[in-house]
Structure formats: structure tokens, C-alpha cells
């Protein structure tokens, strides 16, 4: 049993990302969407927290939201994977529940 956690806000705006990452269980996945994607950039004050989370969970970013904000895969913390909306759907079905951190 595993959870897909979605995060849609920047960690610099909201505590949602920090709170989500503090509640992960091994085998979970995290999908960062909308403004949340800025939190997955390498070399931010938050990068170490993202890296640490990858010990427990796969971390994904929604590609269209990255591109909309002028970013690409090369800008992300190492190990963060990019998916599109199709991939988002696959993540939802692959995990037993989806939990949104708003």
C-alpha cells in the first residue's frame, strides 16, 4: 500500500511541501505540480529536503508546469523525474491513494 502525494505550492510560499515530506512512508511517491515546481530546483534552500525525501519516495515534477515557468529537467535536483499529465494519471493508478497537500 502506498500513497501518491501531490504538492501544488512553492515551499517558499506555503508549508505544504515541508509538511508533506515530513509525513512520507517508504514506497510513496511525490508529484510536484503548479507553483510547487520551483521547490524542485537545484541549489535552493530546499534542495537538501527534496534529496532527503528521495530516500523514502520517488519524486516527480509535472513537465508542463516546469516549462510554463521557464524551467527544464536540467534545473532540477538530481534524481527528480519529469512526467506529463499521462504520467500523472499513471501515478494515480499505480498508488493506492492520492493525497493532496494544499
Amino acid at each position: 500500500m502506498s500513497t501518491l502525494h501531490t504538492i501544488n505550492k512553492s515551499p517558499f510560499e506555503r508549508s505544504a511541501m515541508a509538511s508533506c515530506l515530513a509525513h512520507l512512508k517508504a514506497g510513496d511517491a511525490v508529484l510536484i505540480i503548479e507553483d510547487g515546481v520551483v521547490g524542485a530546483r537545484k541549489a535552493t534552500a530546499f534542495a537538501a529536503t527534496i534529496s532527503a525525501a528521495m530516500g523514502d519516495a520517488e519524486v516527480y515534477v509535472l513537465g508542463p508546469d516546469l516549462q510554463a515557468r521557464g524551467m527544464n529537467e536540467g534545473d532540477l535536483v538530481d534524481g527528480v523525474k519529469v512526467v506529463d499529465y499521462d504520467g500523472f494519471v499513471d501515478l494515480v493508478t499505480a498508488h493506492d491513494r492520492t493525497q493532496a497537500w494544499l
Binding site: I33, Y85, V89, L102
Partner: protein
Amino acid sequence: MKLAVLVNEGPYTHQASDSAYQFTKAALEKGHEIFRVFFYHDGVNNGTRFTVPPQDDRNLQKLWSELAEKYNLDLTVCIAAAQRRGILDEGEMKRHGKDGNNIAPGFRISGLGQLIEAGIKAERLVVFGD
């Protein structure tokens, strides 16, 4: 799989409705069933037919209405949240003595029980909000 979607925010001010729309569309195109899209909080504002957004950008109400028509989607707007925010159908208009109604094609107004039912009947529930 049978999926359900909850949209907590209105059009344009938050990306939630766009994200929900793109997700729902992708799921349908992949052959999944969307049991219901439920609109709560300001999400009910997706269901008014009186928006006139700029022509050079997406028209979220039309997108949802057209998706509903193409796939026979159930777009349900919560009646309590709709009453608070002024989204009415003909029945609500008459019931509350208002001089107009604004529900968009493809959307219907119903109770919160429809959200609970979606949680019970669907295999996955995905929430889009602020």
C-alpha cells in the same frame, strides 16, 4: 480504472481548475472512467455560463462543458457551496425567488452526498485546490 476528481477552486484565480481539467482529459483519453468531477468551495464558480474571458486565452467553462459532452461526464456542483456563491439552476432560482440562473451546460447542482458517493464508488479520488 474508475477515478473521481474534486475541484476546490474557481476558474483563473487558481490553477486548480486547469490542472484538474488537464488531468481529467488525460485520464479519459487513456481510457479510464471518470465517475464524477465534483466542484466544491469556489470550485462551483467553474459552473457559470456567464463568463466572458479574453478570446486569446482558454475558456475554462467551455472546456469543461465540451469535455462533459464528449465523454458524458458527470460535472456536479455542490448545492450548499453554490448557494453561498450564487450559482443557480432553474430549480434553485425558483426555490429562492431569484430573477435569474446561471448554470453552465453539462454542469448539474446536487448535494455533498455526491462527493462522498464518488469517494465510495471510485477507486481513486484526486483533489485539486489552493
